[in-house]
């Protein structure tokens, strides 16, 4: 549904988005990750046609966003960053207006408004002015606006920002449910959301895509993927590390914790260990009293940091 090709955006001398390409099909939920200022919002603004691209193209449902902006925008529902809404209107008036501008009239409009009010739990504030709403309600009002015409494509810029944990959960459920029939792209910097909602994730840093894959694949990139945590009793940490270094698959061993006679160490695998490390470590440790032996999954936050941190650090230096 969405096809982004070699997209770039230059502000003055700064390349905010640099040669970004990806595509999203119906039934996919794409998580768009990246540190602040990485170019997430700029990319989304170009997908929705708010900003014209400096180079490259975006097509939505086969319509180029620059050549056929009206047709393309009809297919898109957009939740901008910070969820803006007309503060002088009531929630009902605002939704009514957005439905009308989306071409919904009469009975269809009434139904559309009722549907999103129910979906986003706005019933209790329906006749309140947007100005007086709490942040969570305001956010949901803008979210309701984005799905009012039941679009095929949803572009959501930080849809859970500023919500309390319950509301976050609700919104994620909603995104996941809608993701079965629509093409959704949403940006976030909360990594647990990627696991909870996305079928695929892209990490962007300083305008460039640095990783693209399913959450599972991304986790594999982590040093943690396939690492083994071992806790034993009554052995010195130096003995444990020396012994583990003799295991061929082990690349590195770190001592996590040592107290009251317990030692916790973590062994990281060499490339190609393919999950066989736990077995090997277990064998090496068989003569000790093992309290815990656990194979780790990769960790997204660690992948995220390892991919985006070095650059940020370099910039600071």
């Amino acid at each position: 549904m969405i096809k982004v090709q070699n997209l770039a955006k230059v502000f003055g001398t700064k390349r905010a988005v640099d040669d970004v390409s990806f595509s999203i099909n119906r039934g996919e939920v794409l998580g768009f990750l990246g540190p602040n200022g990485a170019g997430k919002s700029t990319t989304m603004r170009m997908i929705t046609g708010f900003l014209p691209p400096s180079a490259g193209s975006v097509t939505v449902g086969g319509f180029d966003i620059v050549e056929h902006p009206i047709e393309a925008r009809r297919l898109i529902g957009y939740l901008p960053e910070n969820a803006p809404a007309y503060t002088d209107m009531t929630v009902y008036g605002f939704l009514h207006f957005t439905a009308e501008i989306r071409g919904l009239r009469g009975e269809a409009r009434k139904q559309a408004v009722n549907r999103v009010v129910e979906m986003c739990f706005l019933g209790s504030v329906l006749h309140q002015s947007v100005e007086t709403l709490s942040k969570g309600y305001r956010h949901r009002t803008c979210f309701a606006q984005s799905i009012i015409h039941d679009p095929d494509v949803l572009v959501l810029d930080e849809p859970t920002d500023g919500l309390d944990p319950n509301q976050k959960h609700e919104v994620r459920q909603l995104i996941r449910r809608m993701g079965e029939k629509k093409a959704i792209i949403f940006s976030t910097h909360i990594l647990e959301e990627v696991d909870a909602v996305c079928s695929r994730a892209i990490i962007i840093d300083r305008g460039k895509i640095v990783a693209n894959g399913t959450p599972q694949e991304l986790r594999q990139k982590s040093e943690w993927a396939g690492a083994v945590t071992l806790r034993v009793r009554g052995v010195a940490s130096s003995t444990v590390t020396t012994k583990l270094y003799q295991v061929p698959l082990v690349k590195r061993v770190t001592v996590v914790d040592e107290k009251d006679g317990h030692v916790t160490v973590r062994a990281f695998p060499k490339g190609g260990a393919n999950g066989a490390l736990a077995q090997a470590v277990g064998e090496a440790a068989h003569e000790w009293q093992i309290e815990q032996l656990q194979a780790e999954e990769g960790r997204l936050d660690e992948v995220f940091r390892s991919i985006t941190m070095p650059d940020t650090a370099k910039e600071g230096a």
């Binding site: 009206i70 009809r74 910070n82 809404a85 957005t98 989306r102 071409g103």
Partner: protein, 247 residues
């Protein structure tokens, strides 16, 4: 017809926005008080002993509008930019033109309402004498066109900034130029300094073009002047909005 519907949707929303805030009521009350005060006290409506509204009433309009129209127009785009709703508006399936025209139309209709509410003056003058109501009507049309020209200029300045105050001040200054270019004291000075330029400069003035309407003459050149100021200003607004987004 879709385009008209989109424009009308925007216009309705904007008109609603005027009347949900106190701005509309404050504006109308001040406009009516000012026009009443100037007509009857400063303009000397009774002392003139003529059944005419031209001098005591319409003569003041270019000056009222100088302050009041930028106050109506200042929020049009500045507020959208400040709150961020411009991002919603311009990603809806409408063209930027439809949004610009819709917003302009809403404010213009609002000004028309304020103007219509001055009808007691017309009743008064008809009660006291036998004025030429045709002249009064053309003068009203001219006044409305002039307000439209001021308003379109306020659209430009509003699109330039996030701050309503800055927008207000800039458009006030620009409109002041349009008035002064035809203001007799300025023309007198100009005639002595650069007599050749006088005609050119005065032809840019709203006062010069409003004059005809006040005499009851509906000159196509005057109508065209105001319409082209409106058209040009709205076009400039669209260019500003586009370049602002282009970064």
């Amino acid at each position: 017809m879709n385009a008209c519907r989109n424009v009308w949707t925007i216009t309705k929303r904007e008109l609603g926005a005027y009347f949900t805030s106190p701005l509309a009521y404050v504006f109308i009350v001040i406009f009516l008080l000012l026009s009443g005060f100037f007509t009857f006290f400063v303009g000397g409506f009774f002392e003139r002993q003529e059944a005419s509204l031209v001098r005591p009433f319409f003569d003041w309009h270019p000056w009222f509008y100088l302050f009041l129209v930028p106050a109506v127009g200042m929020r049009l785009w500045a507020e959208e930019r400040r709150v961020g709703t411009i991002e919603l508006l311009l990603t809806m399936p409408i063209t930027a033109w439809q949004a610009i025209v819709g917003k302009f139309l809403a404010s213009w209709l609002f000004l028309a309402l304020a103007l219509v509410l001055t009808f007691p003056v017309v009743i008064t003058v008809n009660y006291l004498g036998h004025p030429d109501n045709g002249v009064i009507l053309t003068a009203y049309v001219g006044s409305w066109l002039m307000a439209g020209a001021y308003l379109a200029i306020s659209c430009i300045t509003s699109a330039l900034t996030r701050s309503q105050v800055v927008s207000f001040i800039i458009s006030l200054v620009v409109c002041l130029f349009l008035i002064l270019a035809g203001f007799p004291p300025v023309i007198n000075v100009l005639e002595q300094v650069a007599p050749r330029l006088t005609d050119l400069v005065t032809s840019f003035s709203v006062i010069t073009h409003f004059e005809g309407f006040q005499k009851g003459v509906l000159d196509s050149r005057d109508v065209l002047f105001f319409l082209s100021v409106i058209g040009f200003s709205l076009f400039t607004t669209s260019v500003i909005l586009r370049t602002h987004r282009a970064g």
